[in-house]
Amino acid sequence: MKSSQVPFKEDPEQIEFAKNILISLHDPVVVVNEEGRILAATERMYGIFKTLPGNLEGEYLVPLLEDKKEPAQLCHLLETLMASQEAVKDFQVVLSSPNLKRHRFSINANRLPQFKGSTAFLLSFTEVNILHKGSIDYRKLLNEVLSEAPGLICTLRGKDHIFELANDKYQALLEYREIIGKSVKEVLPEVENQGFIKMLDGVYNSGKSFIGKEIKLDLKGENGGKSIILDFIYQPIKDVNGKVEGIFVHAIDVTEKVLNRQSLENSEKELRNVIDTVPVIIWITNPQGQGNYLNKEWYEYTGQTRKESLGAGWLQAVHPEDQEIIYRKFIQAHELRKEYYSRFRLRHKNGAYRWVVDRGRPKWTAEGEFEGLIGTVTDVHDDHLKEQVIRENEHRIRSIVDQATVPTAVYTGRGMTIELANDAMINLWGKTREVVGKPLQEALPELEGQPFFDLLDNVFTTGETYWGKEDRVDLMRNGRMETGYYHFTYKPLRNEEGEIIGVLNMGLDVTEMVESKTLLKERERHFKLMADLMPGKVINTDAAGKPIFFNQNWLDYIGLDFHELQEQNWESCIHPSEEQEFKKKWQHSLKTGKNFEMQLRLRDKEGKYLWHLSRKEAVKGEDGKITMWIGISTEIQRLKEEEKRKEDFLKMVSHELKTPVTSIKGYVQLLLNLLDKYKLEIPGNVPLKPSLERIDNQIVRLTRLIAEILDLSRLEENKLELKKEVFDLNAMVEQTIQDIKLTNTQHQMEVFHAHRARVFADKDRIGQVLINFITNAIKYSPDSQHIQIHVLKVGEDKVAVSVRDKGIGIDPKFHKNIFKRFYRIGVESKETYSGFGIGLYLANEIIDRHNGYIEVKSKIGEGSDFSFVLLENQ
């Protein structure tokens, strides 16, 4: 025995076991292990050594108890115990301790039942000094010990295996049958055929212990009996002489453990059966990636033998091109203890390589220990080919999308990764191809704060397509934030199972349209604003004349709001006297697109009619079609009143002027008549008669001027009345010229009647026009005295009267202006060409009202040709 200080490394369970044995003992008892170290001791034992409980554990018993004189005795005892299986009784030693007198002790020592493969010894000390022989009841002591021990314990005595003692657990197992003092055969008749009695006999006879492992014991009981599985030891008990007295039985119920293991084994077996019957290849590896199991499908598929597949042999069935990478992945998965996935070509036993998918996942024990991978190999060759076709289709679709002019993009996953975006879309975004593959949020961060991420998320969640109509999108394009407007769709994309996997985004840039619309609205607003600010009454109608807008002035004037006015029909506020003419003219304008202009009275909210000048102009589109009409009615009531006053005034003036003129003219003519009648001779060659004639001429001119003023005011008031009659135009021309000749003798006037015609017209007014032409010809021909008047046929049914002179002529650029009121061509000598400048204006108006027209041909220095054209009366 060594006494060196080897660290004490006893199993705590064993110490616990030892303590449990001693817990109820009062005598000084100690349990030591095979090394002689103390595992546990009773309190009395501590008392002997005068030390505290716990201080003795792990100490070597021999040096502790060493009486300097008799240490060898104790050593001998222990050696004896170790060497044999036998108990030692009444071993007399004298021990001393530092504070004690020397004492003689009798030691009874026994080997304890094996616990977890370790042996321990129980030593009971009795002071011989006070020893009364037989006072120590060994059996009682042992019984006490055993009753506390774990497991089922009993002792059998004699060759018939009479139960001497049994712990409570043992008795409980036998449902507390009466056993003590009875033989095994009596107590347990049912076990006779289970071989136990034979085993006991063997131990009793041989003196050698027997260990039983997982032996099934069937017991009969009141409730129909039970089966338990036991690990047990039969250990012979020998007396001091080595003769077997009985058997120590220690059994542990391992039923549960065994059943668990069996069911585990069964399930594994079952699993393997299942694995072998499923139509997929299944493999199981160990932690190093060695294929320790492949189901029979593998062998059937590859045609490999089990031997060929061992280790990494299975790899030989993989296509040579795929072997290296597959193996690397496979080993890596084992090293990382992670899932494994690969797709490779596997040789079928028919020699063809087929595409397979190989998937594996790590296996863990209940304790969390990595056990390797379990996986499957699936033939996806047909799918693979299909996929290839799909991929080709996808490629084709992609290229179509790429080339499409409609901006198109596909986002996948909830993260909206840009899976696909064609150039049109990239361009729309103002980004580069680099954005493809990035989440939208990363590619277009400027969309943050705009509604699109939420919309996309919603489409992804609900599967409802979103249609954007003229939605505003602010995009960072070429380094600048730009606002655009788009029609676009967010359409969910689904896989074959109907799950939403992404969103298809197609868009259309409608910025220009929206902007022009906005501009248009803005313009419309401006128009309305302007219209409201205008003093006139502005109306806006559609092409058919239906009002779509009245400005505020209109509404204020009539005292209605827009809808009321629209319902009531604004035309109803036109004075009945003008209503018919208005309708006629307006319809004409609507039909022809010609501007409308008319003076009419409009009723205000108090029922008072006020004069308005109403103008309407068509607004035409690019195609020339009328899109709407804009009309303005300006109140001219005061103007009208002014005009009326003016006309009254002019009437009065002309009337008042004419009265003295009439008087003067009468006297002049009387004087001329007197001169003629009496042939009066005026002394001194006074040119009386020519003077009177000139006065008369001037009066005619004055009269005409006065008449023109009146005519003008009437023209403006539209009151120029025409007294139409059928008359001989040639005769009228002839007569007019004769009249002019009476007052003008200087110019030669020749008339050419190339055509003879009658017309339905106002004879006086037509005469007035002719006089105007001739007097103009005279006026502007200071150096030429020749004037020609032609009556000509024009076209089928028209007749023209042309007045030609060889005078100063008119620049063609003035031809239009000469018909304007008060227009006079700028001439050098004001005196030469007097007049109001209204003659041609009047002439033009008169001919116009006869539905005729005036033509001018003239060149500077070559004279003029004025002609009026009238419809013949046939």
């Binding site: 009437k651 002309s654 009337h655 008042e656 002027l657 004419k658 009265t659 003295p660 003129v661 009439t662 008087s663 003067i664 003219k665 009468g666 006297y667 003519q669 009387l670 008549n673 007197l674 009066i699 009269t703 008449a707 009146l710 009345e721 007294k723 006086d764």
Partner: protein
């Protein structure tokens, strides 16, 4: 042959005097009044052959006077020549029953012709 008697109704004395002088030169008897209300009385008293009636006589419309003459059986047949500075007033005058109309200022010859024409018709009738 007895001279024809012409009654000139015009409030403008200048015109009245001028016409009196002028028409007397042409061998007519002429009486002039500026008061249109005297017209009927003078026609009957003086045995007038023709009335020259101005259209506007100080507040009274000549056409009304003409219409009145036409409605009076005693003056119904007396010819009326209306005159006016408004040269387009002819139709109104004819409507009122005037035999003819002449615009001021007039050519002496035209006036005499119109008077003779009316009187000739009368004679012919």
């Amino acid at each position: 042959m007895k001279k024809k008697k012409i009654l000139v109704v015009d409030d403008d004395s200048g015109i009245g005097e001028m016409l009196k002088t002028l028409l007397e030169f042409y061998e007519f008897d002429v009486i002039v009044t500026p008061r249109p209300e005297e017209t009927e009385k003078l026609i009957l008293q003086e045995n007038v052959d023709l009335v020259m009636l101005d259209m506007l006589i100080s507040g009274v419309n000549g056409t009304d006077v003409c219409a009145r003459l036409r409605n009076n059986p005693e003056t119904r047949d007396t010819p009326v020549l209306m005159m006016s500075a408004l040269h387009d007033a002819g139709s109104k005058c004819r409507e009122a029953g005037a035999n003819d109309f002449i615009a001021k200022p007039f050519e002496m010859d035209d006036l005499v012709e119109k008077i003779n024409s009316i009187l000739g018709q009368k004679v012919a009738n």
